[in-house]
Subunit: 420 residues, 2 copies
């Protein structure tokens, strides 16, 4: 599979050196945008961003492609690329991300190789055997936690497989299956639309015989899990059923410490991003829910780490809602905190997103997204402001996202030269 | 061999969705140019192209490399790249292209895996056993057809191998060899210069033993074919000999329908381009020889297909002739038809070439060539006109040609997102 990207991971561990230089990745989710029609300004171009614009003039600016030109990425692959991991080589299922998100503050190893994880929704099953509500009336946080605890206490082990149910958010949870001979190659049980019956747990199509045998064993365990869950949930209507999706088998990834010799800190408000960061060996630190809370967390942890990942979720949420105005406001809010970040005097400050989420499309898109790399050693020029049009003229040009981590390390003087 | 390009074909079939959006690729062969000396305008810059210039301002513009920077491609690899096929992974010999070109309107499968094809020239052999004219005095169309029929009727089968001779154009033809245990790994029999004897059919150098055995069997069949052809051509001087080149063994490629779920239509005036399109599963439709004829064919077939490949040959012919003025005129003619194409309201219109053919060089060249992608969702900016200099400033940047098909599919909202 390898090929499109330079095989950085093969050579970086030999080149990396440790020093005191600090790197910040400020990631506005879904930052890249689009005009309401061709020729109109993007959300970032509509936003008043005096601090980012000034910074862009003193930085290397460009455009990055998370996966490849034309490909609209999910948040998982887009973030992996941003952190320097080939997003085609490393595929991580939503179940694993959920478990890591739910347990992100746990200092112990969260999953073991061979563990299987899935996302779980509490749902409402009608008397006719079809799903009436895939979210069980959007449970309260309190009720969601209570039901997760009931299931976790009530179902300990099925056919030798240890089972853990973890609360994620409201009606959402994650389930961890630990035992010998499991496989993550299971189809979703969620029919994704209402008035359809739930799908029985079963292996995905096209598996080799060895994987199929493991997937069949896993499906049998999951089937029993669902049956037992239904028993336990009796009397907790509308949450009388569970739907599972995003099954995945855990395989460890090389960590930030192994690859880059960085002690990394993640500041993010959403479980999935926390989970991904934890999966790469970052320390997830507690913070509130606002941008101001996140910047305060950055300041509070400044002395403890080499690398800081600060994730801003609401740019993406606004884009997905088709609300260009809201996206503009979030960008402007982030802009207002740039002086406080610069006050910390990071050796390298990267400002970018993980992918584009234009309000016009109400979805992740394929458009490359703007990036600025600010450091004492960054070449400047080309971009008069921080936006898609100006970054297209910047000295960085158009690059795959996987190039950003090595560029950041280089600017922090953390890479030796390659070869004699 | 794979490596330089992102492995689009591995992931696209899972991402592609069908919808009603239509895509047009308007391909001016050899479009990219060069000034008569450094600093002088290219052919495209000399041409008056008000329609393309206006379109460029409302499109994503950039430069594309057909194979890789520095590599001057043949038309085959350049077109494969344009259609999203890795031109290093997929090598198609001229013989196979000729057979597909000659049979492009045939609804039945044209070649079977293992079939071998070659291009054939009628030539003049002197009494001294050397080639005196590699084109047999440029036969008339009528005479070429007559001789092809004579050979096709006169030589049916040699050593169990079924043989078909197909008229291509004037002195040019294609030969199809169908039978067990053949190989396309044969050297050309054409000495390429006059006053040299023709080369005996023989295997290429450096073959593995298994391929060598098949190539030796094939060479023996071809040798007998040439001997029988010489007998049949007696009395048809100056066409008293045949030269064969571009031997190739057919291996099917994944089709546009399989890869992209597109029903594709090819509008091209030259057999080779029709052949390539047919090879990729496009329907080749009949059209006249002028640009106006081709645009009329586009209009006539608009309702029937999702994807339209419109190929303009004469930009390349003029470049090969070193005639910059003629190339300018063809470009201006094409420009005048842009309003009629826009009138059809395609969801995505890509205007580009397959490679550069600067009149200054009288040959295909390595220079990247200009491209514009027009769609409701294309980002605009950077390029004030449609030419090499302005496209170098466009928001698309510089990309491999293989990225264009995915970008076009994305702009037509025909790709789901990749990963969670």
């Amino acid at each position: 599979m390898r090929g499109y990207y330079f095989p950085y991971h093969d050579i970086l561990p030999e080149l990396v050196v440790e020093n005191e230089e600090k790197i910040v990745f400020l990631v506005m989710d879904g930052l890249g945008g689009l005009g309401s029609e061709p020729g109109k300004p993007t959300e970032l171009e509509l936003a008043s961003t005096p601090n980012l614009d000034r910074l862009a003039q003193r930085s290397s600016c460009g455009l990055i492609d998370p996966v490849a030109p034309g490909i609209s990425p999910g948040s998982g692959p887009a973030h992996l690329a941003l952190f320097g991991y080939d997003p085609v080589q490393y595929e991580i299922g939503r179940g694993v991300l959920s478990v890591f998100g739910a347990r992100c503050f746990d200092p112990d190893p969260i999953m073991k190789p061979g563990d299987v994880a899935a996302r779980m929704n509490f749902a409402t099953l009608g008397a006719d055997g079809t799903i009436k509500d895939r979210r069980a009336g959007r449970l309260s946080e309190q009720k969601g936690k209570e039901l997760c605890r009931l299931l976790d206490d009530g179902i300990e082990r099925i056919d030798g497989v240890e089972i853990t149910v973890m609360y994620e958010k409201e009606y959402r949870a994650a389930v961890l299956f630990r035992g010998e001979g499991l496989s993550g190659a299971l189809a979703d049980t969620d029919p994704t639309i209402v008035d359809m019956p739930p799908i029985d747990p079963k292996p995905k199509d096209g598996l080799d015989p060895e994987t199929l045998a493991r997937a069949e064993r896993t499906a049998a365990v999951v089937k029993q899990f669902v049956e037992q869950a239904v028993e336990i949930l009796k009397g907790h209507e509308p949450a009388n059923f569970v739907l599972l999706r995003g099954f995945d088998e855990y395989q460890p990834l090389p960590s930030f410490a192994e690859l880059y010799r960085l002690s990394a800190c993640a500041i993010a408000t959403y479980p999935m991003y926390r989970g991904l960061a934890r999966l790469l060996g970052m320390k997830v630190v507690d913070c509130g829910q606002s941008v101001a809370d996140e910047i305060s967390a950055l300041e509070a942890n400044w002395g403890e780490f080499d690398f800081f990942y600060v994730h801003i979720k609401k740019t993406d949420s606004a884009g997905e809602d088709g609300n260009a105005d809201a996206k503009v406001k979030v960008i402007e809010e982030v802009d207002s905190f740039i002086p406080r970040i610069l006050e910390l005097d990071p050796s390298v400050l990267v400002v970018t997103g993980d992918h584009s989420t234009p309000a016009t499309l109400k979805a992740h898109s394929w458009h490359p997204l703007p990036v600025l790399v600010h450091s004492r050693y960054a070449r400047t020029g080309g971009a008069a402001a921080f936006n898609e049009t100006e970054c297209a003229k910047g000295v960085l040009g158009r690059l795959p996202s996987v190039c950003l981590m090595p560029i950041a390390l280089a600017n922090a003087l953390r890479l030796k030269r390659y070869g004699a």
